[in-house]
Structures are given as C-alpha cells and as structure tokens.
C-alpha cells in the first residue's frame, strides 16, 4: 500500500512538468501581448515597452520558460499584474474552492444517493417518476440560470441568505446548492440505474428469501456494491470542482481558483495561469489517488490485490 501511494506521488513530477510545458506553449501561442494588456488601455509606447523588458517578455521563449521554472523552485513566481507572489494570491482562493467543492459534493452525495436508492426501491412508482423527472430537469438546467433564480428567491424575496460575496457560512449555502443540485441529479440517476441492476441479482433475491430485514438487504448488501462506481463519480466531480466552478464563482462573487485563473487567461498573466493550472492538475491527480484508496476500503478484494 505504502509503495503504491509513493509511486503515484512520484508520478506527479513528470505530470506537472508536462503540464507546465504544455500550458506555457499554449499561452504563448495565443495571440495577445501581456505587456500591452497590463499597461492599461491608454498606455503610451514607453510604458508598454518598459513593462515588456521588466518582465522579460522580450526574451526568447526557452529562456522565459527556464526563468519561470527557476522562480517556481524558489517559490518566487510573481503575478505580472500585481507583482505579488502567485502562491500568496492563490492559496486563500484554493481554500475557498475546497470549501465550495466539498460542501457542493456533500449536498450532491446525500441528496443524490438518497433519492437514487428511493427511486430504485420504489421502481415505477410515483416517487420514482417524480425523482426521475426532477433530476432530468436538474441535469439539463444551466448553472448560471439556477444561481440567479436562487438569489432572486432566497435573497431578494425571502432575504434568508446573502446574495453574494463571502460573509460567513451562510454565503456558502446558495453557491453550494447551485452546484450541488446539478450534481445530485446526476448522481441520483446513476444510483438508481446501478441499484436496479444489483437488486435484480440472485444474491439479493436469496437474501430476501432468507427473510433478512429489507433495510439490511438494501443498505448493506445492495448499496455497498454500487458504491464503487458512485464513489468514482463523486471523486471525479470533486476533482472537476477543484478546478474551480467558474460560472458559480462569478454569479455569487465566490473568490475561488477558477475565476482567478480565467481572469488571468484574459489578462494573459502567464505566470498566474501556469501556476494555477499546475496546482489544479496536481489536485486532480491527488483526488484520483484518494478515490483509489477509498476503493480499497470499500472492496476487500482490491485491498488484497
């Protein structure tokens, strides 16, 4: 187990170097001159040129890349726009993104699994149809629109939650709901399908025939067996969310990592984009590792193998 984890962590290095090269090339292939964007719209030629020289944007690409890597190892990569170390700007946003991703996935998992199981158990009943209809609506709804509707209803009319910004835990509710509901719908549909499959298998029928309590059969024997694919989905969703939920972050003014990177892309703030995407990639790899570890916990066969 230890070796498995170590190997996966070591694998991170080549992945990150690959990502850094790729992003560096893509950013420099994009049309757009960071010096001009940073200098401001009404900048003079001298102002633009000074910025170009100061940030080494006039140097050959290979040199620029090497300077970037050197600064990265020293932990001194600075944003072209603010001259502040990227990690310093990124870290609080990273924590915010973890917060939002975690609470969204929590809402999504609880609602999704619960409704999925209920729908499967009461197959073809009114509840089942209702859950399926609502979840179809949930997966097809644009996040942007749902977010604004939630603000209108819960902030403008009811005044229960803040309409945006980040003032205490209450401002986490609406953005998490916005993302959580969409993912919950997806998880509910998956859970239902998987549960239906398992419930029709022989060992379940046998268990019911032996007279085991219905709840035990459903939650211990059936649900545990569908958890592996569901955990995979939840893990993947969590991974995606750690890349930032740009739309939700924009609608609610939630200061997460996604918006930070997207704003940097528009401003061609190369260093921020590079570091931002490297951090997002590393997170994604680590979450996948965690998901693999959870498999082992859920399925003894994997642990032994």
């Amino acid at each position: 187990m230890g070796r498995f984890v170590l190997r996966r962590v070591l694998l991170l290095m080549p992945i990150l170097i690959g990502v850094s090269v790729l992003i560096f090339l893509i950013m420099h292939l994009l049309p757009g001159d960071p010096a001009r964007l940073i200098a401001g719209e009404d900048a003079s030629e001298e102002e633009i040129e000074m910025i170009r020289v100061k940030y080494g944007l006039d140097k050959p690409l290979v040199i620029q890349y090497l300077i970037f890597m050197e600064n990265l190892f020293k932990g001194e990569v600075k944003s072209l726009r603010s001259d502040v170390p990227v990690f310093e700007e990124l870290f609080p946003r990273y924590l915010n993104t973890i917060q939002l991703a975690f609470s969204s996935v929590l809402i999504a998992s609880i609602l999704g699994i619960l409704f999925g199981v209920v729908a499967a158990v009461h197959r073809n009943s009114i509840i089942d149809n209702l859950v399926m209809a609502v979840s179809l609506f949930g997966v097809s709804m644009p996040i942007f629109w749902l977010g604004i509707l939630l603000i209108l209803f819960f902030s403008v009319y009811l005044g229960w939650f803040p309409s945006g910004g980040k003032e205490g835990l209450s401002s986490l509710v609406l953005p998490s709901l916005t993302i959580g509901l969409a993912i919950a719908a997806f998880i509910a549909r998956m859970t239902r399908a998987l549960m239906l499959d398992v419930l029709s298998q022989d060992y379940i029928r046998t268990a019911i025939a032996y007279g085991f309590p219905r709840k035990t059969v459903i939650y211990r024997y059936a649900l545990k067996n569908v958890m592996i694919p569901i955990v995979t989905i939840i893990g993947l969703q969590f991974g995606y969310l750690m890349g930032g939920a740009v739309l939700t972050e924009s609608v609610f003014g939630w200061p997460g990592i996604g918006r930070y990177v997207v704003e940097a892309i528009f401003a061609r703030d190369y260093t921020v984009v590079q570091v931002g995407i490297m951090v997002i990639s590393a997170t994604f790899v680590i979450i996948n590792l965690l998901v693999d570890l959870i498999y082992a916990f859920l399925d003894p066969r994997i642990r032994r193998g």
Partner: protein
Amino acid sequence: MRKFLIVLIVSLIPILMFSVRYGGTLVYVMGVDAVTLLPGNMTDNPSEMVCRHIFEGLVEFDEKLNINPALAERWEISKDGTVYTFYLRKGVKFQDGTPFNAYAVKKYFEYVLTHDLKRTKLYEPYIKEIKVIDDYTVQFVLKHPFGPFLNYLAHGAGLIVSPKAIDEYGDDPGVLGKHPVGTGPFKLAEWKKGEKIVLVKNENYWQKGKPYLDKIVFRVIPEAVTRALQLQAGDAHLALKIPPVFVEKLKKDPRIDVVIGPSLRVLYIGMNTQKKPFDDVRIRRALNYAIDKETLCKTIMGGLAKPADSPLAPAIWGYYSTGKYPYDPEKAKKLLAEAGYPNGFEAELATPKGRYLQDYETAVAVQAQLAKVGVKVKVVPMEWATYLAYVNVKNPDKRYQMFLLGWAPSTGEADWVLRPLFSTGSISNRALYSNPEVDELIVKASREVDPEKRKELYKILQEKIVDDAPWIFLYVLDQVYAKSKKVKGDVALPIEIVLVKDAWLEE
C-alpha cells in the same frame, strides 16, 4: 441687525446643507478586484477606485474635472511653464504618523521615477527634477513646458505614499502595493484577494469632522446581474457597471437611485487610412454621413450614450462641438459615387465583444446602416487580448480595414487623446492617420502655457481631425452606477471613478 442675520444665515448653511449622519458601513460592489494599492504601479480602474479613498495627491479632480487643491494649498507656474511651485498644507500626517511635507512629495515621485513602476513613464518624459525649497514648498522642474501637467498630478499615479512605507516595503513594489499608507480619510483594514477590501475610518484625518462613514467594504462580484440583485436584496449600497437591461428595472425600485453621468470614453470605428478605399477622405466622410448616431444611441445603447462629433468627449476641457456629420445617406451615396464607388464596396470590421457596453451590437448595427448606402461590411468579433494583438499588428500587409475601439484619457484632458491617437507614427494611432499640420499643432498645444491659447489650438485641431475623418465618430458613453437611496454625498468623476469618501448613510 442685518449683519447679524447674514452671519446667522452663513453659519447655518453648513448645518442645513450637511445634515450628515456619522457611522455605518457602506458596501460597494465592483466587477473586478483591485490589482495593487501602490498608486504609481496601477493601471486598472478598481485599484484607482480604492486608492483614491486611502491616498491624496497634491491636487485633485472634482466631478467637472476642474483641478482643485488637495495636499497643496496653492501653486504657482513660472512664466515659461517649466517650474511648478506647490505650497503644501501644514499639519497633515500620513496614516502611520509620518508628517506630510515637501520631503515626502519628493520621495514619492522620485520613487516612481526610479523604480520601473507601471506608471514611471507617465512622469519620466516630463519631470527633470524635484526640489525641496523648504519644509512646505516643493518645486517640479520640467524638461519642457507641458500644459496638462497639473492633470498628471491629479492622475491616480500622483497619489502620494508615506515615505516610511516606501523605506519599509519599497524595494518590492508588490509588497508596497499591499501596505498602502496615505493621508486620505480611510485606511486599509483587510484585503482578501478576489473577495473584498475593507477600509476603516482614519481617526486622525486632517479635514476635521470627516469622514462620516466608519467603514467601506469594496466587494468583488463579477456577474453584473448579481450586482444589481445585491442592491435589491439590500446586501450592497452601491453597485458599479449596471447592465442596460437592469437600468429600467432598478429605476422603478423606490429604494434605489440610478445615477447616469458623462464619461470621457468616445467609441469610434477607425479606418485604415493607408489602405484602399479608405485612403480617400471622401470615402471616410461618406461613411460618417451614413451612420445614424441618434438612433444608435437611442436603440442599441438604450439612451446610455450621446452622439460624438469630436474625438474629445464634451466633459473634457477644450472640447469643441464641430457639429459635423449629421445623418445624411444621400450625401453619403453622392460622396461614394464621386470617389468612384457608386455601388459601394466590401470591407471587414473587427470588433471586441464584451469589452465596452454593447460593442459587438454596435458593430452589427453599423453593418446594417452601411449596407443601406451599398457598403457591405463583414463583422469579425474577437476576444479582447486577441483583438488588441490584431489591431497592433506591425506587418502592413496584414493590417485591418476597419476596427471598433474606445478611448478614455486617464489624465482627463485633451492632450492624452489627440497626441496618442492622431500623431503620425504613434502606436495608438491605429487609423495610421498622418497630417503634418496636425502633428505640429498637437505639440504646440501641449507646450502652450496660456489656457485660452491652448483651448483655441484644441478647437482648430478638432476641426481638422473631424474634417479628415480618420474615424467614424460614434458616441460618448455614459457611466452608470446604482445606489441605495440611503447613500448621500457620493461623487462620480468622469474618469470612470465613483468616490464615497465624503459619503454618508441616511437612516
């Protein structure tokens, strides 16, 4: 008795006028976070918005862009226009307790001039040296006479930073940008990047009795619809950049005021004057006549713009209404025929999408209007950074034909419109316009010390440029923000800055 009454009335005026209320927190929502709080290093609007509450300059703009005393009580300009002597206010202290004096002024501007900041080149071409005459008198000696110099001091980059803060953090502009120390009415309490900036009252502010607010929270909400909803939900007091669709809705809300005022931003379509058929002035004039600006402003812009008849916005000192190019499609057709294009021609019009209010929509409307006189235009929308690269391409063969852009001078005066945009060879002169007479007049105007003579030169320049028509002059944008009716005393500067430093909240 009469004298007594006059004294009584005069002394009552301030009380009647300023029935202000002390205390409270004002929540101010912007679309983007500030980048840095070091005045000499900032090039973006949100940073300036915040800095103007923390710092003060020698002089400052009012809402009409007049230049008023701030940290300088008065000033003298030498006859030849190269020496500016400022007499400083006494008893002013920076927020860290350091006294404000001539040494502090010299220290800050020398810091900007020598540290390769993003605004170093704003001053470096003009300032030769800064002399301390005595503790409260400081002299700026210029390399040559420069008429708009006071505007450059009223510019955001001219806000003065504490010498102690420069000593402590100045080696790294990024660090100094996080530790702003000025003489202004508010000081930084907290900055959560991407989220909010909190300013608190400066208890030792030199203007007695001010400020009124205890706290200002600048909150970042990128989505415009949410900003409007924040006002309606009562979660914010003031919101910038309200989308036009929301303007009408907010106007109907009894708790909210929508404030619409002039900005300096002129939107135009540049024509590549070096390329056929735009090298013919008759074609360029024809296209100007073919555009119905009034309708454009009313429909596409929802009334949030005024037709432009000069490269200068009317709020800029020296603006002259040329009255040129009323909508006249017949005249346009006639001019096109004279130039040898009776059936019009085809061309490409590049435009950013989402950079300015309704930019792409304007380009499409222009396309429809030009089609009426036979000019078939293809609209090519682009993302901003890509667009900027496109309009700055160096290779003459790859150059554009027509492009939509806006310009607003951050110095709030005419020179920083005319010189960069119409001087031969200037990088911002993307129409590649060249008129030696105009070049000469621009330099002459900028070095003219007598305001009346300078104004006259600007008038001639505007007439000549509009006559040569390197642009299709479109419109001047309004600036729009919305606020709770409780907010009083807010001030909008036409340089797209809304100040609440003298504001208060009514109950």
